[in-house]
């Protein structure tokens, strides 16, 4: 007997917290606001753990029906929740990392204005993200999808008095919406051709279809459109431009939304839709190409950035590219595994960066940091763990997941693998560049380093324990998180990723047993490839050591010798300018000249104004009738009477 898990509580608890804080938080003390926020978020995390405890007793997939929603003829979509291994992984990641970041934010945002608003938005984000993860149909997932976009907009533009933050929020939301448009069209196609958006029903109806190996068909279209949505949400080419700008928001926001959870929604959605993508090899190839190119592209930009958060932002885009590369070679479990480890170490990286920024009093330019190793030891050691994790060194978490992705990619094409290894080298290089610039050498910042305005004049200091505790926990996870092993992880997710795959799938098999057998045969080549990847990471570390510790004058010399290419990289390949010229400016011009001046002002306003003017002119000419002259009144009466008499005569004699 499957117990009732009351899954609906998990999203609704943070929503309650958001509502309470949002409506009444203004009057509460900071302590009360943070207790409420942490309480509800923690409750959601506790419920998630409880669900884990019940997991073995469940018959999967577990569907829980909450309330009816849309019944339109044969189409039905309900408020219903869905739990299987995939959503369980996502649930734990979202609630766990989310809870840690909530704790961290209490310390980070303590001095800021709008405290209650921040936590209301954070809880609201949790609500939407959990809805997204737990939904049992695409429509409810889309609500969560849109909602996290909204929460992201609200949180990026949290300091709304800053113009750049406001613009960044708008950019994020609009670019997201472009992706959502693709997602919507995919949903429409699903409704039209399969009559439902319910996961179970849709995949059940798609399962018997044959894969479209000969040409592009319906499933390819759906797959590509879903990828458009994922590209918008998860910042892949060409819709990645919002993520670096999103760093305008507070650092916990960057950690939670733009590293651990929201941007991974695209990966989750692609993994969830694997039934569709497995039958559309062309779409799958597009996914892999986009992922790979994005990984490389973002890594090259990250190498030249000077803002610590921007480096991490491009790193996030790059790592997301890895996840899509994995999904694109049908290694969905590898992608999700990397999603999990990435949540640990990227979240940690952002939080530690926030700690660093907090320590040096708001400075984000790495060129002005340095030698912080001794001054903020806890931050240093946790960030070191995360940096080694992301670079893919053994035995940290990132090694296992990245290695699995590269291995699966190599089985499809060595081009993917080659680009992946080169990107790993770049990743290692720029992360250790960040590490060296921030923590080693002499402190290059200004002498002020005062903390936020006057209370602590102690100079560079460690963050409070409230901020350090999550760092430590995440550091432990960054070290140990990969030890579950990719094989065990894959086996755990097999029921989800196998269901609906069937036997007639694309040439890359996701069958855990088969891959285990193949592993025995190819273990030697796998070891070789792993060694190459590790070597690339080590090379990156050495180069960073060389350029940023031993010979600090080297970077400038290399930059000078590269000339134009270096300029392009620093300016992010002028992509933002390209978009501005191609899309933004023409749209603004059209909107101004056609819609505003042409239609709104000259047609609509003019109609109203001219109507009013006309009425005034008519009344102006008619008012002369009321002259106060008795005889003119009499004259009008007589004339009118004569008219009436004439009419009556005419009628009478007709």
């Amino acid at each position: 007997m499957t117990p009732n898990l009351h899954l609906w509580l998990i999203p609704l608890l943070p929503l309650a917290g958001a509502a309470i804080n949002g409506l009444f938080g203004r009057r509460f003390s900071r302590r009360a606001v943070s207790s409420i926020a942490l309480g509800f978020c923690g409750a959601a995390f506790a419920m998630a753990l409880w669900v884990v405890a019940q997991f073995s007793a469940l018959s999967l997939p577990y569907s829980e029906y909450f309330a009816p929603w849309i019944r339109a003829g044969s189409f039905q979509a309900d408020f219903a929740f869905y739990l299987d291994q995939l959503s369980l992984v996502m649930l734990l990641v979202v609630t766990g990392v989310g809870f840690l970041i909530h704790i961290y934010s209490v310390g980070y945002m303590w001095e800021e204005g709008g405290f209650y608003r921040f936590f209301s938005y954070l809880n609201l984000f949790m609500f939407f993200m959990l809805t997204l993860v737990l939904a049992n149909n695409y429509l409810l997932m889309f609500i969560g999808w849109e909602g996290v976009g909204l929460a992201s907009y609200l949180l990026i533009g949290f300091w709304f008095t800053k113009d750049s933050a406001v613009a960044a929020g708008k950019k994020a939301f609009i670019v997201n919406r472009i992706g959502d448009f693709g997602f919507l069209i995919a949903l429409f196609l699903l409704i039209k051709h399969f009559g439902s958006l319910n996961f179970v029903q849709v995949f059940h109806r798609i399962a018997p279809l044959r894969p479209e190996t000969t040409g592009a068909g319906l499933l390819t279209a759906i797959g590509l459109l879903l990828m458009v949505g994922a590209a918008g949400k998860s910042a892949q080419i060409p819709l990645y431009v919002w993520l670096p700008d999103a760093m305008e928001g507070p650092t916990p926001v960057s950690a939670l939304i733009h590293a651990a959870t929201m941007v991974t929604a695209g990966v989750y959605m692609v993994a969830r839709s694997h039934v569709i993508l497995d039958r559309a090899p062309m779409a799958l190839m597009v996914v892999a190409i986009i992922g790979t190119l994005t990984a490389l592209f973002a890594a090259t930009i990250g190498v030249a950035q000077t803002d610590i958060k921007k480096v991490l932002a491009y790193s996030t885009i790059s790592q997301l590219g890895y996840m899509f590369m994995a999904c694109g070679v049908a290694a969905y479990s590898a992608g999700i595994f990397h999603l999990m480890t990435h949540a640990f170490f990227k979240g940690l990286l952002f939080l530690a960066a926030g700690s660093v920024i907090h320590a040096v009093g708001g400075e984000q330019d790495m060129r002005k940091m340095g030698g912080l190793r001794t001054k903020i030891p806890w931050t240093f050691w946790t960030m070191t763990a995360a940096t080694f994790a992301i670079a893919g060194f053994w035995p940290f978490a990132g090694f296992f997941s990245k290695d699995e992705i590269l291995w699966q990619a190599s089985r499809v094409s060595f081009v993917y693998w080659g680009i992946g290894v080169f990107t790993a080298f770049l990743t290692s290089f720029y992360m250790f560049r960040l590490w060296f610039l921030t923590f080693f050498g002499e402190y290059r910042g200004e002498a002020k380093a005062a903390h936020g305005g006057g209370e602590h004049q102690a100079g560079i200091h460690e963050s409070p324990k409230l901020m350090l505790a999550p760092l430590v926990i995440l550091a432990v996870l960054s070290v140990c998180g990969g030890w579950v092993g990719s094989v065990r992880f894959e086996r755990f997710l097999t029921p989800v990723l196998q269901a609906g795959s069937g036997a007639s799938v694309s040439n890359v098999s996701t069958n855990a047993l088969a891959s285990a057998n193949e592993r025995k045969d190819e273990v030697s080549s796998e070891t070789l490839l792993t060694a190459v990847a590790l070597g690339a990471a080590a090379l990156g570390l050495y180069l960073a050591f060389l350029m940023y510790y031993q010979r600090p004058q080297l970077p400038d010399q290399i930059a000078a010798s590269l000339g134009g290419f270096y300029d392009a990289v620093v300016h992010k390949y002028y992509v933002d300018d390209l978009y501005a010229t191609l899309f933004v400016k023409p749209l603004l011009d059209a909107s101004t000249r056609i819609l505003w001046q042409g239609i709104d002002r000259d047609v609509i306003d003019a109609a109203v104004d001219n109507g009013a003017d006309g009425a005034r002119e008519i009344s102006d000419s008619v008012r002369h009738m009321q002259s106060g002259n008795l005889r003119s009144y009499a004259g009008w009466i007589a004339a009118g009477a004569a008219g009436v008499i004439a009419y009556m005569v005419w009628m009478g004699t007709r």
Binding site: R631, S632, G635, A638, A642, A646, G652, T653
Partner: protein
């Protein structure tokens, strides 16, 4: 005097034209005269000849009250007021263009139209002299039976008119004096 029915229509027509002519002459004179007192007196003449027309139609009661009330009371009132105000002859002032342009021609055209219609198309018969049974007794009966309500209402109307006239025409200074004396 015995009158043959043969020449009765002739007499009727002659008398009709006689009285009618006096009516029209009086009306035109009303328009032509400059001093209002002359106009008022012409109107009295008009009313008198109209009484004659009523008699020709056989409405003796109406003719009687026309002379007694209309010519005898209302016109006298008019003459009183004209003499009281002593306005004098009319002066020439610029009037209204509308009245002259639209009103007068309009009315003339209307009248001509009506006359044409009446002469050509009206289905009226001829009236013989003294056709109406205009005995006052029957009229009184009608007034107090079928038309009782309008009769009573008109009495109220007259009362209101009296009050209105008194209020409107009362000398404001006399009211103030009376207030001061109290």
């Amino acid at each position: 005097m015995e009158v043959h029915s043969g020449i009765e229509p002739m007499i009727h027509l002659t008398l009709f034209l006689l009285f009618g002519g006096i009516c029209v002459a009086g009306a035109v004179n009303l328009l032509a005269q400059r001093h209002p007192i002359n106009s008022a007196l012409s109107l009295v003449v008009v009313m008198g000849s109209l009484a004659g027309e009523y008699l020709l139609l056989g409405a003796e009661f109406v003719a009687a009250i026309q002379v007694i009330i209309y010519a005898g009371a209302i016109m006298v009132l008019f003459v009183f007021v004209i003499m009281l105000l002593n306005a004098g002859e009319e002066e020439r002032t610029g009037g209204s263009r509308v009245a002259l342009l639209f009103g007068v021609p309009g009315m003339l055209i209307g009248t001509v139209l009506m006359a044409w219609v009446l002469l050509e198309r009206s289905g009226t018969q001829a009236v013989s002299m003294g056709a109406l049974p205009g005995a006052p007794k029957t009229i009184g009966w009608l007034l107090f039976h079928d038309f009782l309500l309008p009769f009573e209402v008109t009495s109220v109307l007259v009362l209101i008119a009296i009050m209105g006239a008194v209020v409107l025409a009362s000398h404001p200074e006399s009211v103030q004096q009376r207030n001061k004396e109290r």
